[in-house]
Symmetry: C2
Subunit: 336 residues, 2 copies
DNA sequence: CTGAAAGCGCTTACAG
DNA sequence: CTGAAAGCGCTTACAG
């Protein structure tokens, strides 16, 4: 079965390929093609199961109707959810999404960008890691629309959609303080990424305001890292600081490691230790007790990121930069 | 910054575009191009940051060096793991992977196939759902390489790589019997897909052999379905059949719903109820007690699926059909 | 109202 | 050892 092209249809219909192209792209009427011809062409296209070649049309127009999505790790629930919503949103608008994960080697991130560039995606949505600032600058130079999500670079003027991390951490910590905890620890990673800094700052500010600050209550876990190491680091940390009565974990995998530790050490939550984690996860809802979390407005973030990106793909709005913050939601469960 | 093409390089180097093309594709030596010219062209390409247009080369060659991957639901851990390994394997061979999820509407599955076809993928890896048999037949007619994973259609002669579901269910059930359980329930879904049938048959055969069969010990949960419904169905089922002392859950999301039920009903595992589930999941390892599971050889399945697919993409092996079964692994934890 | 033709950026058979 | 040219399947400015 050979591939049906626009030419086959033109032959069959006895018209030129231009006419077929106009009809197929629903420009028939605009180009003043007679209703009879339009119908004939459409019927034949259907009869022959004609599928336009995206490749050929991309080559001609320079557009692929696709966007590249680079996330930190697609196997992390947070990112796979995000990806799913983005795919849906983009799909509604007729855009395909090409995913990829940065994985563990930040050095490879520019290669991902290059390969998406080579695939000629029309725009990018990225959760950037530290080393990507340069890659993103390059995209801007190439005039490629880019929207960052989850984090961004403070000194770069690029559209982004993120949660209000400072506020979310501030509220979560405030909630722990209000619940009577006095030695509230923080578990962060060492990535230094801006969203992590802001979360830490939210925690620190409210803790200091309440005169509860204690530097040794803060743990940084190397990033990236394996779960085993996270578990052993947190265990060591809790053993060394027995006065800690609550912990705020700044990402879901840190929180999950925390649950393992609690389990291993036989601690009672929240009696021995209260827990709040950023990002929701299946295991947080299933755990006994269920875990209080800061839920990110994933859906809103994804929807708006796509919207902004689409805006940047039409010429008039090309230069507009939108910086959006969405509020997180403290989901109160049983762990505090 | 304009797009650099082969022509720019040819101009700069003072050679023809053919020469450039040969060099870029590492056919320079074979075509007898002088080492000096090769070096010159390569240097210029690098200096200008030349990136070949995949689109143009695809249009010309008819190959895209990409494969389409259709999974049941990318947000399910099992499938996202599978996707990740497949992406890695394919990546090693210079192939890009386009994912998509069938989601909840089986009727849309043919559209996914069509859109991947339109994107001109060179081959397909699919976890088919019931309604896809026809779509897959179409792919075969179009001479597109296809490898099915996780399940297949009994009457269709298509390459596939699956776990030995019958054996895995048989062993898991045998293990429950050996551990002294007498009223072993089975929770299946109503999809009727072959892997589910085989798992059920493995269970049934060994149960009958031991004279433990009881039809009311088998529950079918509508497919597809929401977690809440799964939880309430399982709850009703366990309440109605109080003699049940062990349950074999045939997928990870059934097992997870089962854990919710156990939690809600306040049952002690394994004292009140022993549990084994198919497919591993983070929550199974974190749960107290940890849950015994049938782990699928994900990595092996993914690797071999890619291997077979690649084989089918070279002409000589085009027609070869490989049907492969891999053994599952019973991971013994604390829930039995 | 419709067609002939150029061109997107490549690859490759052919010629010399 | 290297180049001129055809062609992949489209879109679109131009002509009539």
């Amino acid at each position: 079965m050979k591939k049906i092209t626009i030419k086959d249809i033109a032959n069959e219909a006895g018209v030129s390929i231009s006419t077929v192209s106009f009809v197929i792209n629903d420009k028939g009427e605009k180009m003043g093609i007679s209703a009879a011809v339009i119908k004939k062409v459409k019927d034949i296209a259907e009869k022959l199961y004609y599928r336009p070649s995206m490749i050929a049309s991309s080559l001609r127009t320079g557009k692929t109707r696709s966007i590249g999505l680079i996330v930190e790790d697609i196997s992390n629930h947070f990112f796979s959810q995000l990806a799913r919503v983005i795919e849906n949103e983009a799909g509604k608008l007729g855009y395909r999404v090409f995913y990829c994960s940065i994985g563990n080697d930040d050095n490879e991130s520019d290669e991902l960008v290059q390969s998406l560039l080579q695939a000629n995606v029309d725009g990018f949505i990225i959760t950037p890691t530290k080393l990507m600032e340069q890659s993103i600058d390059n995209l801007l130079k190439l005039n490629k629309p880019v929207v960052l999500i989850d984090r961004y670079f403070a000194n770069q003027n690029v559209s982004h959609v993120v949660m209000d991390n400072y506020e979310a951490a501030y509220s979560a910590t405030q909630y722990l303080i209000n619940s009577g905890y006095q030695n509230i620890a923080l578990v962060n990673n060492s990535s230094g990424m801006i969203q992590m800094q802001l979360r830490e700052k939210g925690y620190t500010d409210v803790i200091k305001k309440n005169n509860l600050f204690n530097e040794s209550n803060i743990l940084y876990i190397d990033y990236p890292n394996e779960e085993e190491n996270r578990v052993s680091e947190i265990t060591k940390f809790l053993k060394k600081n027995p006065k800690i009565d609550a912990v705020l974990f700044l990402t879901n995998y840190l929180g999950l490691a925390g649950l393992h530790v609690v389990k291993n050490m036989g601690l009672q939550v929240p009696k021995d230790l209260a827990i709040v984690s950023f990002d929701d996860h299946y295991s947080f809802r299933l755990n006994t007790p269920t875990i209080t979390v800061v839920e990110q407005p994933l859906e809103e973030i994804a929807v708006q990121a796509v919207e902004i990106l689409m805006g940047q793909m039409v010429d008039e709005k090309k230069g507009e930069v939108h910086k959006v913050m969405k509020k997180g939601k403290l989901v109160i469960r049983e762990s505090v």
